[in-house]
């Protein structure tokens, strides 16, 4: 098993250990290795609540890379070589202390197409060639299907969920019900595999898997190139909270909100179940990636989205269970708390100290530091409006504010934008962000 103490790794969709590709040429392999170690140490010092030698800055971007590289959003998703080259160029220009798995996060166009993915509209597939992908919030599981899922999640996945979310799986709705197959019933049970729809599904899935293998190879190649230049990945894989998993990918936003009243007990049961299989999956993929830090985008925790009581009943307990399980497995959870989560801070403080990075999107980091500074490292959070509509001087002052009021006040801050570099950010504002970080915090 790869060691879980270094910043390699890839996206959750691609839990393949990095390390097979040759390292890209660097000025000096020794220098790059030392730089890599120093950068990774800065991140891990923050996690352990130790003072790093300077404020680390992370680089996380998706469609902004298209703007930076002068290609379309569609090309960024489809042209592996161009995307790797642009991401590599960005690392060499900005010299971040760590970066997201830039290629794994964005170059998924061919794989999505091969699998017939239905939950997303992406450039050239539902949105314009120069627009970012957008998730389609829908009801992918009906309220009356809770019982079916709870009784047999795998069966529900095979026959209902997968055909709904990806065209390649559409033939699976003809698959037999596996529990109960036994003795000679096994023979009749497998007849469905001879049906044309099922055969076609398998053929499409194999073809899609081959594309995903190519995608994974390119993503791993980028990780190795970054390593060759001395840049670690800040996270290897992604995970999801149990509540968000059900809200986003099964019940849809409004369905989930109604379930808080109408299907309370079944929802609680599904949350409990999801916390177990999501944890198992997260540990397995993170270990395969060789990187202990797991990014967890958080969609449904914001203050406005539910009451404190609902948060403490539905959202937080199954997620905390996952966090503790990940920590016990030697992982470093890095939730990205989207929107404003100011009213959640006291609740989410309840984790072991020195084990997590909390990335905040709109929550005031000064306040977050006051409440959480002795428990977690912080990441973030230059506002999208300043990054996209402000001047370089505005960005400089925003960085200065965070350096002076968080990092120099003892906050273990990893500077970043609120949710990576917004797609429309002028390049000079990104330059200003990195320059200001060095100017005000080493």
């Amino acid at each position: 098993m790869p060691r879980l103490d270094r910043g390699g790794g890839m996206n959750a969709a691609l839990p393949v250990a990095a390390g097979s590709a040759a390292a890209a040429p660097a000025a000096s392999a020794t220098d790059a290795g030392a730089a890599y170690d120093a950068r990774w140490q800065r991140i891990m010092d923050c996690v352990a609540l130790r003072q790093p030698d300077r404020m680390p800055v992370a680089f996380y971007a998706t469609f902004w890379l298209a703007r930076y590289g002068g290609i379309s959003c569609r090309q960024l998703m489809y042209d592996y070589e161009a995307t790797k080259a642009i991401a590599e160029r960005a690392l060499l220009e900005f010299e971040p202390d760590a970066c997201g798995p830039l290629v794994a996060m964005i170059a998924s166009g061919r794989s999505l197409e091969a699998i017939g993915f239905k939950q997303l509209q992406w450039p050239g597939h539902g949105v314009g060639e120069n627009q970012p992908f957008q998730y389609l919030d829908r009801e992918y599981m009906k309220p009356e299907e809770y019982d079916e899922f709870l009784f047999d999640p795998t069966g529900f996945y095979l026959q209902k969920y997968l055909p709904r979310v990806a065209g390649a799986f559409e033939g699976f709705d003809e698959l037999p019900v596996f529990p109960g197959l036994h003795y000679f019933r096994l023979l009749t049970g497998i007849r469905a595999f001879a049906r044309p729809g099922v055969r076609e599904s398998f053929e499409r899935i194999v073809a899609a898997a081959e594309e995903v293998e190519r995608f994974a190879g390119h993503a791993a190649d980028f990780v190795e190139r970054a390593r060759g230049h001395g840049y670690p990945l800040i996270n290897g894989v992604n995970a999801v909270s149990p509540y968000d998993f059900i809200a986003d990918y099964f019940r849809g936003a409004t369905g989930m909100m109604k379930d808080l009243f109408r299907n309370r007990d079944k929802l609680l049961e599904m949350l409990d179940k999801a916390s177990v299989f999501l944890l198992r999956q997260t540990i397995a993929t993170a270990r395969a990636s060789g990187n202990p830090i797991v990014m967890i985008p958080i969609h449904w925790a914001p203050d406005a989205f539910m009451s404190p009581k609902q948060f403490e009943t539905f959202w937080w307990p199954p997620f905390r269970k996952m966090l503790l399980g990940m920590i016990e497995a030697g992982l470093v959870p890095m939730p990205l708390w989207e929107a404003d989560c100011s009213k959640r801070l006291e609740t989410i403080r309840d984790v072991p100290p020195g084990k997590c990075i909390y990335w905040f999107e709109r929550t005031d980091l000064v306040r977050a530091h006051e409440v959480l500074g002795d428990v977690v490292a912080l990441r973030g959070n230059l506002s999208p409006s300043v990054m996209t509509t402000g001047s370089a001087a505005d960005v400089d002052q925003a960085v200065r504010h965070l350096a002076e009021n968080v990092f120099h006040k003892g906050g273990r801050l990893i500077l970043d934008c609120a949710f990576g570099v917004p797609d429309e950010t002028p390049v000079e504002n990104v330059r200003a962000m990195f320059a200001a970080a060095r100017r005000y915090a080493g």
């Binding site: 509209q121 389609l136 109604k258 009243f261 539910m306 409006s385 797609d423 429309e424």
Partner: protein, 220 residues
């Protein structure tokens, strides 16, 4: 509302307290079995929604309550509306007209839909023109609908520029006179409001209602 009977008060309370099964059962009985005035029942619903809105503003209620309240009202409305027999000119007066849509390039609609619903149940006439709305479509709709307020919604950062283009085009077409523009969405703040040239921004549906109330009250 004054002079509520016992079961009328009960309906308002159940709706406001999110007791869906009880509230819908009572509303059905009042409308379908007892032949109560559907306009009166809808007025009770609005009374309940005032309470829901206040509880939202006071931090007791959140989005899930607004969504469930919307569902309950939709169900009652679907029963009540076919029963309404209005004489000509008897249509209930509206506070003002609001045109709302998600700007071009953005496909998000949850926030917009909640704002539309809250405006509707608070007495505004709302025309919701959907998602990914081109600038030209906004102009056409403004010309034909003559709204008092235009609401531009957007969740993605690309919406900043789409909103700015839309606001500028409305101005350039000479349609801004006597009309207000509000923007809203997950990333919207005062910086974005200034950038787009909108009159105001809101971060939730109740703020949108309050903005519209303020503007239409002044106009009236």
């Amino acid at each position: 509302m004054q002079d509520l009977s016992g079961d009328e008060r009960q309906l308002v309370e159940w709706l406001a307290d999110m007791n869906e099964d009880e509230a819908l059962g009572l509303a059905r009985r009042m409308l379908l079995e007892e032949g109560r005035d559907p306009m009166r029942v809808l007025a009770l619903c609005r009374e309940a929604m005032d309470i829901v809105g206040k509880r939202f503003e006071e931090g007791e209620y959140f989005l899930p309550e607004l969504v469930l309240a919307g569902e309950m009202l939709e169900t009652i409305g679907a029963i009540a509306k076919p029963l309404i027999q209005l004489a000509p000119g008897e249509a209930p007066a509206k506070l003002g007209k609001v045109l709302i849509g998600t700007v071009h390039g953005d496909l998000h609609d949850i926030g917009k839909n909640i704002v539309s619903f809250m405006l509707d149940i608070n007495g505004f006439e709302v025309r919701d023109i959907g998602i990914d709305v081109p600038v030209e479509r906004f102009l056409e709709e403004i010309r034909s609908y003559r709204p008092d307020v235009v609401g531009l919604s957007g969740f993605l950062t690309l919406a900043f520029d789409s909103m700015k283009e839309t606001v500028e085009a409305i101005g350039a077409a000479g349609l801004r006179e006597g009309m207000k523009i509000m923007i809203g969405g997950g990333q919207i703040d005062e910086t974005v409001r200034g950038y787009t040239g909108a009159d105001a921004f809101g971060t939730n549906a109740v703020e949108a209602v309050n903005l519209c109330r303020g503007w239409t009250a002044v106009a009236a």
